[in-house]
């Protein structure tokens, strides 16, 4: 029989305000095996811990139940305190009577009753607890960053700076992400390329950083400290080691009619291309969908002009395997498709563009060499209308849009408006908004400058309809403050389209067993206290893949993420969770059900000899778990029909005992 001590925490008034803690201590004190039961104001405080330690000594406790906050908060604290008194840390159980009771119930009587029931369940479990010893596993001192936008680049640079190897896997031919497409950046209006490209070059030249561009992660196995990742290096049909990036091929290629994605399809590129002048790695790529040689076997011009002999039409995708200690998701975002918004005429009127398209129209390396010309006839627009919140902040029933605020649009629109007024003072600029949101250092000042100094017309109200009217666009809108309908004849309409996570993010999350919210943004381990970690050990989050952010915020998060990764890589060994699965060979059928569901590949099989009836020997296939690989997820224990597979610390029996105690 265990000698169990029960400790009820008031958590100030957090718990004691709703739960009659004295009654709980009294009631649990009568449970079988409980030799000591008390309550205290803050169990986690130094004096609370001392109280627990004293009780362990004086009452010779063998098990401890703490009724307090979530085990995610203080389980470690109490386990440590108990182990200082010689009790195995896994003989401590927490009953969560804060998040599960006091915070969600109002009625004291009911809350107290529930607290007692949860306490009873924890006591029932402790009766069956076994002392467990944690093992250790080594750490591969290399990190993987998935996505080479500014977030991924910054995280990689910081990890490399600390002396660790890091690989960037980027699906497009170059790193840089969306920032490479921007013109100037708020709130300082420095040119995006001028601040981004040095970082890209740094990443490209850093000995510790390996860039796998035009590559995708295909499979992830393993666990924190020991991930094994398969990376598909898509065929570029150009030997990366030979190509010097001279670009001769891209000029000579006769197939010139390929929509240029870097310029949002507003001009064309060749079938062999380098996305932009500062691309890293600066290597040409053949677009297999358009290359005549690859499609019909006729052409081969690029191969003839390439002095380096880098063209290889026979190149194949290659899958490589690399080992990592930690993985960072930095898959970023994309603007949503504005075509769904018929009322704004995006699909039908050429002079209705998205904000990202406008960035390209204003960029010196863009399709118009930086002069603002409208797409339909290459004329200067004299009236420009901006529509805010296209697809952002929609009601849950709106299928086209997103419920969240995309966060960056108010600021970049202020930037766009200001830049247009600065360069072309004869242009009238209108911005239709729901609210202007400018929290951030120097942000509101920035917006006010647009209104006050640059005379941008900010109108609170929504645009109802945009239609083509001859050469112009007819904008119907409402001015909510003046309470009137407006008609503006505009030359250019810019839609501040919502942003959404990259479409590949969900499959990446599945591979990483990282969780996502309903909008497909990665979720953090704790929204306030662990914002750059995913709930899965060893998986970290950087940039917009976790939620909408501007560049300053992206970069701070990227560095924070790097710090967390370094924290893992700096260790030589990680303590393993001793709550791992174990199979009872006497019961095991060798059926492979468990092996099929184990997400970490921790289960293997061997043929073993058993004693059969009448002194015979039987050979049976049985499962065994590699405790260094098992993460204690418990998937196998529910897949196992015979109950042979069990999880230490959360055995079937312990869980049944808890359920019984609750239903008692």
């Amino acid at each position: 029989m265990q000698r169990i001590g029960v400790f009820i925490c008031h958590c100030g008034t957090n718990i004691a305000g709703t739960v009659d803690v004295k009654a709980v201590a009294e009631a649990l004190g009568h449970e079988a095996g409980v030799v000591f039961s008390t309550e205290y104001q803050y169990m986690c405080s130094e004096s609370g811990q001392q109280l627990m330690r004293k009780a362990i000594r004086e009452h010779k406790l063998t098990g401890v139940v703490v009724c307090s906050c979530s085990p995610r908060m203080h389980e470690a604290t109490f386990r440590k305190a108990a182990s200082l008194e010689g009790i195995n840390p896994y003989m401590v159980e927490i009953a969560n009577i804060r998040e599960h009771v006091s915070w969600i119930h109002k009625d004291m009587k009911e809350a107290t009753e529930k607290a007692i029931i949860l306490g009873r369940a924890a006591i029932a479990k402790v009766h069956l607890n076994q002392p467990l010893q944690a093992g250790e596993s080594p750490v591969t001192k290399r990190a993987l960053v998935i996505g080479g936008g500014i977030a991924g680049i910054q995280t990689a640079l910081d990890i490399a700076e600390a002396g660790f190897e890091v690989d960037i896997v980027e699906k497009s031919p170059t790193i840089g992400g969306k920032m490479a497409q921007l013109d100037k950046t708020f709130p300082t209006l420095d040119c995006a390329a001028c601040i981004l490209t040095p970082k890209m070059v740094d990443a490209g030249q850093n000995e510790k950083i390996k860039i796998f561009a035009y590559s995708e992660v295909e499979a992830v196995k393993g666990y924190v400290g020991n991930f094994n990742v398969s990376i598909r290096r898509k065929a570029r049909y150009v030997d990366e080691t030979k190509c010097t990036g001279c670009g001769l091929c891209t000029e000579k290629c006769p197939q010139k009619k390929v929509p240029n994605e870097f310029n949002m399809g507003m001009n064309n590129r060749h079938a062999i291309y380098i996305p932009f002048a500062q691309a890293v790695p600066k290597v040409a790529t053949i677009d297999a969908d358009y290359c005549m040689m690859l499609k019909t076997g006729k052409c081969g011009i690029c191969s003839k002009v390439c002095g380096a002999g880098a063209i290889d039409y026979k190149q194949q995708d290659e899958v490589i395997e690399r080992q990592y200690g930690a993985i960072v998701a930095a898959t970023g975002f994309n603007p949503i498709d504005a075509k769904a918004y018929n009322e704004y005429g995006y699909a039908t009127c050429p002079d209705v563009v998205t904000s990202l398209e406008l960035e390209r129209l204003m960029n010196a390396a863009g399709p118009t060499n930086g002069t603002l010309l409208r797409p339909s006839d290459n004329e200067h627009p004299h009236t420009v209308v901006f529509v805010q919140c296209v697809g952002s902040r929609c009601t849950e029933t709106d299928e086209r849009g997103k419920p969240y605020c995309s966060k960056i649009c108010c600021m970049y629109t202020a930037k766009h408006a200001m830049l247009i007024r600065e360069k072309y003072p004869d242009t009238d600029v209108y911005v239709f908004y729901i609210d202007v949101r400018t929290p951030g250092k120097n942000f509101d000042e920035f917006y006010r400058r647009a209104v006050e100094q640059y005379g941008v017309h900010y109108i609170k109200g929504m645009v109802g309809k945009v239609t083509q009217n001859g050469k112009q666009l007819r904008v119907q809108a409402s001015d909510l403050l003046a309470g009137e309908q407006l008609h503006i004849d505009a030359d250019l309409v810019v839609l501040a389209t919502a942003i959404e996570p990259d479409k590949t993010a969900r499959s990446i999350a599945t591979m990483l067993t990282a969780s996502m919210d309903t909008n497909d943004f990665f979720t953090e381990a704790h929204p306030k206290l662990r914002p750059v970690e995913s709930p899965t050990a060893g998986i970290f989050l950087s940039g917009v893949c976790q939620g909408p952010k501007d560049i300053p915020e992206t970069v701070s998060q990227a560095s924070a993420c790097a710090a967390k990764v370094i924290g893992v890589l700096a260790k030589d060994k990680l303590t393993c969770n001793p709550c791992v699965a174990q199979s009872d060979e006497m019961l095991c059928n060798g059926c492979s059900s468990c092996e099929k569901v184990c997400p970490y590949g921790a289960i293997s099989y061997s043929d073993k000899e058993f004693r059969g009836p009448n002194r015979t020997t039987l050979i049976r296939r049985v499962a065994s778990v590699n405790p260094a690989v098992c993460q204690g997820c418990g998937a196998c224990t529910v897949a196992c029909p015979s109950g042979a597979m069990d999880l230490k610390g959360f055995s079937n029996k312990q869980i049944m005992a808890e359920v019984d105690a609750i239903c008692q």
């Binding site: 006497m586 059928n589 029909p641 079937n652």
Partner: protein, 321 residues
């Protein structure tokens, strides 16, 4: 059919391909065909029987038998081949120790149906011109085949042998319109209370003889949780009558995704509990949630409940009750 099977079995015994044969012989009653192992030509000639009462699925016996010395010959009907494959998938049978002869099947007779027609003293059965000729101590009786065919055979899902080394008779096809979910749909249309009452009523007749579990090829555990005092569920049954029903619910969960819908459980239940409806509900739900899947059709297929794919339904997406 019996002659052809016997002849081929004798040949395979004689040329040493196999050293024993798993088939059927007469059990307690002349219509009670029971699985049996024949170890010699004499034994085979003596006891081997094959007729339309041979409904028993032999595949489960191979768990034990395939571990012995040498190869064993087994006769499998189309539906039995699914069970066989499933057991292969679960590493329960040593394939290399088994020689499979697939035998054609057009449905087996249900002796209970014959008895209900007032027939007694049944001693044998033969299929003639699409009708059953039932031999009884009172003479022969002719019965329309469809009137005496077992329920499970009326909604047979497949006449195709998914695995065999050789065939006697014809191989058929998967039956697309077998209507096996008709009754499940009726249950789904009930209100939860009606359904609860239905199942409570059916399951209340269970005498816990364990026949369903013992015959089930999916229930092949070394030690069943219900026989394991450490499992914590073995003793539960005694607590109250609902806990007793949990036996069936737990069993249905254990075989979910592995049950081939062979129908053996319902066939052997002395209390005529329609256990197959529980399993078919699971099969139907899985088909709807994760796409069509037939356990045992392909031993290398990943079972829907044992696989995670990116397109899987989220739990909150719900299904048909």
């Amino acid at each position: 059919m019996q002659e052809m099977m016997e002849k081929r079995a004798l040949e395979l015994l004689a040329d040493g391909t196999v050293n024993r044969v798993l088939g059927w012989s007469v059990g307690e009653f002349p219509y009670d065909m029971t699985p049996a192992v024949f170890r010699s030509a004499e034994d085979l000639k003596d006891r081997f029987v094959y007729n339309d009462f041979c409904g028993a699925n032999l595949s489960k016996y191979l768990i034990k038998e395939s571990k012995g010395e040498g190869k064993i010959l087994v006769f499998l009907k189309p539906c039995d081949t699914y069970s066989f494959n499933q057991l292969i998938a679960e590493h329960r049978i040593k394939r290399e120790n088994v020689y499979v002869i697939g035998i054609e099947c057009y449905g087996k007779a249900d002796v209970e149906k014959l008895k209900a027609m007032g027939l007694s003293g049944i001693t044998g059965i033969q299929m003639k011109n699409g009708e059953y000729v039932v031999e009884t101590v009172y003479g022969n009786k002719t019965v329309k085949a469809s009137d005496a065919t077992a329920e499970r055979c009326l909604s047979c899902k497949s006449k195709k042998h998914v695995v065999f080394d050789e065939l006697i008779g014809e191989d058929g096809d998967v039956v697309e319109d077998c209507n096996r979910f008709d009754m499940v749909e009726k249950l789904e249309a009930m209100t939860p209370d009606e359904r609860f009452a239905f199942w409570r009523g059916e399951l209340s007749r269970c005498i816990r003889c364990n026949a369903c579990r013992n015959v089930c090829p999916a229930c092949s555990c070394e030690q069943c949780v219900f026989d394991n005092p450490n499992s914590g569920v073995a003793q539960k049954a005694a607590v109250n009558s609902f806990e007793e029903n949990m036996f069936h619910i737990i069993r249905a969960f254990h075989v979910a995704g592995r049950c081939t819908d062979c129908g053996e459980c319902s066939r052997v239940c002395p209390q005529h509990i329609p256990l197959h409806l529980l399993n078919r509900k699971f099969i139907k739900d899985m088909n709807e949630f994760y796409g069509e899947y037939q356990a045992g059709a392909d031993p290398d297929a990943r079972p829907p409940l044992g696989t995670y794919t990116k397109g899987d339904r989220e739990p909150n997406e719900g299904g048909n009750k």
